[in-house]
Subunit: 518 residues, 2 copies
């Protein structure tokens, strides 16, 4: 039988950026130094001078629009995992699309390299500079432009925080078709620029389907605007698609028009303990069939990820009865509580009867539901409690998904690097969790330090393993700085050539987010 979740979990929503930012402790090494053999500054780019600063001042007309103080710059130069640090001397905070246009036009004319930055919650160093690129923060462009209650179309600035967008929609009976752990910090524009996937892609599909229009500024200052698009529009090439997932390499997204679904009236969340990865797969196949239209998330987590999360949150596991090698989080959402409860309970009873599920709990109220999600969403942060984390975000055929975690742990054990509780070893453990429903695994190698030695054990091994299974080396996190040189493991030569041609077509001077992507 399923036990009811006692209201034991404290509100444990991960607050990205805050916890990790104890700057005094130890400074993050400069990306340019850590990767000095891989990357060098492009001498074609101009170095920022006093005249440039004056010009930007005249564009922004606001003393708070330019950030130049070293301490203030740190927040923008570093990523939240404390893995990358750039050396930008200038952050610009435009407040209008026209200002973004004037800035880019000037940078393009002067060959000043730039990095667009949203909420700075990226996981591949994509939104941090490598050398002295100017950071263009979208934080000042954060308004809701309009919402249509009949069509469900939301139009907003790129810098709107995802959670703010969703809270606004909730008041109108709608939901943002994307949800992810960093929602309290990340920007809608950043989500689109990185084609974020997140927790409910299973139900709402990818942003390539739900984004209806964009406003974006090209490197030469041209403002591309397709914000008026309706749900269906077959008049010419769907240019906005190029910006979705382009990680700031073609231009800067300044506005987003997106189709939002009706907010489900009922949510259910269950957390299950299972004995094998095979059982995880079987439960998934069954859930997709039996829960079908109400299945909105299907997440899995391995046992070690749970131990780390418990230590991080300093609370017991929601399922106290025993430790299981795998856990599954299922969310359903629909319009009729009675129907949804019946579907979920019947399904869970069947899976237990078939011996696929060993134990589990169903959230009994909103707080319990939020706490179960918070538990799941705390894993990324919990992975860093040893000191750091190497993150791999991969797509693999379902049957091979967990094999990668096992292979990496074997490899690390061979190298005598792993000690879950042995502080003398550099690696805590490789853990696995993610969106089974999308074939998307997050492999987090929790470490006590970042080091070349660990990196050499992991790479290119991880990428070669993925390639051998015809997977993708980036399911949803993107390429950024981390994976720039590894795209060949997933894309073929023709694809890469066509991408490079396209980059040159739109950004002939290469000023947009250089040293990254392709």
């Amino acid at each position: 039988m399923f036990r009811t979740l006692q209201n034991r979990l404290v509100s444990a929503k991960p607050v990205f950026l805050a916890a990790q930012r104890g700057y005094a402790v130890k400074s993050v090494p400069l990306t340019a130094e850590t990767y000095s053999t891989k990357v060098s500054r492009n001498p074609n780019f101009k170095k920022l001078d006093e005249q440039d600063l004056q010009h930007f001042s005249s564009i922004l007309q606001d003393p708070h629009g330019l950030i130049t103080g070293e301490d203030d710059l740190l927040f923008y130069n570093e990523d939240w995992m404390r893995k990358y640090r750039g050396q930008s001397q200038l952050v610009l905070k435009p407040k209008s699309t026209e200002q973004v246009s004037s800035i880019l036009k000037y940078c393009n004319d002067q060959k000043l390299a730039v990095v667009p930055q949203g909420g700075n919650t990226g996981l591949v160093g994509g939104s941090n500079p490598v050398f002295d690129e100017i950071i263009i923060s979208l934080a000042g462009l954060n308004k809701i432009r309009s919402f249509n209650e009949v069509s469900g179309i939301l139009k907003c600035d790129a810098g709107l925080i995802l959670e703010n967008a969703d809270n606004y929609l909730a008041e109108h009976g709608y939901i943002f078709p994307l949800d992810l752990g960093a929602k309290g910090s990340c920007h809608v524009g950043g989500n689109v620029a990185t084609n974020a996937g997140g927790l409910r892609l299973l139900k709402y599909g990818s942003l390539h389907g739900s984004v209806l229009g964009l406003e974006a500024v090209l490197p030469d200052g041209t403002i591309y605007n397709s914000m008026e698009s309706l749900r269906k529009d077959n008049t010419g090439y769907d240019l906005k698609q190029l910006f979705i997932g382009s990680e700031g390499s073609l231009g800067i997204i300044t506005g987003v028009s997106i189709l939002c679904p009706s907010r489900p009236q009922v949510f259910n969340v269950a957390l299950l303990g299972v004995s094998s990865y095979e059982a995880v797969q079987k439960v998934f196949v069954g859930a997709r069939k039996e829960l079908s239209e109400i299945l909105s998330a299907f997440e899995f987590m391995d046992g070690k990820s749970q131990l780390l999360t418990g230590r991080h949150l300093k609370i017991d596991h929601p399922i106290e009865s025993a430790e299981y090698p795998f856990y599954i989080l299922i969310e359903t959402s629909g319009s009729n509580k009675e129907h949804d409860d019946e579907k979920l309970e019947t399904f869970l009873a069947n899976t237990m009867e078939e011996g696929l599920v060993d134990d589990g709990i169903i959230a009994q109220d909103e707080t319990q539901l939020k706490n179960l999600w918070a538990w799941r969403e705390s894993i990324p942060e919990a992975s860093t409690i040893g000191g750091g984390v190497y993150k791999y975000d991969v797509s693999l055929p379902l049957k091979d998904l967990y094999g990668l975690v096992e292979a990496v742990n074997e490899k690390l054990v061979e190298a005598d690097m792993v000690g879950f509780d042995d502080e003398s070893k550099p690696v805590v453990e490789a853990i696995g969790y993610g969106h089974v429903g999308d074939g998307n695994l997050h492999l987090n190698v929790a470490v006590r330090e970042y080091s070349k030695t660990i990196e050499q054990v992991l790479e290119p091994f991880v990428y070669e393993w993925i390639q051998s299974k015809k997977g993708s080396i980036s399911a949803e996190h993107g390429l950024g700085f981390q994976k720039k040189n590894y795209i060949g493991y997933t894309k073929n030569d023709v694809e890469i050539k066509l991408m490079k041609d396209l980059k040159k077509h739109y950004d002939p001077n290469g000023i947009m987010n250089p040293y990254k992507y392709i």
Copy 2:
């Protein structure tokens, strides 16, 4: 109370192409002559000669791969509405991607213009030549390449007929995420090339979300292949998106990889009679909220469209009690019959109680369900029974959707052109129907002849009306030949310039489907 549908409808699935092809009766005027003031042959294109034919023979290695006989060519030169007729002297039927590549490379080198053609079911003359372009038919590339029962990913040749794809998927418990009236003839590749929308977009979203990978041949013969993509892949620009909806203007799609959802276990279809367009909107807003996750189609049809359909099918209307100005077809699909029935019945009872719905029927078995859909799908063909039809496929804000039909009828009455039963008038009536759920109206002006005079009353009036409401002049049919000159009513100058740049980037010689699109 809802009456049960008696099994009166004969199987009335529209068979495109067949009925309209009474060639002996009256020949379709040549597009080049009808539109002689708008278009002239590009003298840069080479004219086909004997050496070219020999070269193509050597590529295809099959005497049936080349069609040159005038009667045989007619099927490919004409569209099914009998509105456009090209003058191609050659149809090529490659059987492999490599053959397509060799053909295009040769054509590009020789500057021979080409038109890719799928099932030739298009509605804007996009797949028929205007002058002597070589037609490349994908009909010979029609195999299923693979299907993964766990992921639901189907990989197939572009020339696979949509209905064949869906029948195959049905055997495996899956459904193709697209359905439209022409499914018995249209090709999957053509659907993708035109970004077809169809009947269930409301539930399954657009092809931009569900297509995972493509194989396409660029004008210079380069084979672009992203068929290995999994559900999530953020490694670089999503190039395949450019081909979705590009109508053969950038290259030829030869393979499609698409994510298919589980086939719902229960379908319900209801047909309702309502008294006003306002009621249609209210029923829709209610359905989206109350039927929510099981609502898979919401179609509306006006009264006159029903009269034409009845005459065409030679049967009574499924709702016999009275004639209504508007009808709604609702489809639900889900995993639990009892739950779905309860949701639909409760919803319909409420709408009748509120006075929104006057009468209606629910299909009681599979045959009735199919017949109701067949009734809806027969409207396009029924629109042509007077002799021809001017078709407009538009996106509009929901509140303005039917206003366009009213405005057009007013305009035609002013010009003294309309007579539903008066054969002396050139126009039968402007009728409206379509996918309310997607804000997509089909305005069909049923006529007794195609004439410049009618066209001048309709255009640019229709396009200007749409522009004034910020709608799209093509929701799902595409631009093709019909709307080439009207894209400016929906897209702005920057968008059009960027599109033209992109066309030049990929097709510098302009051989791909010339005289159309942009």
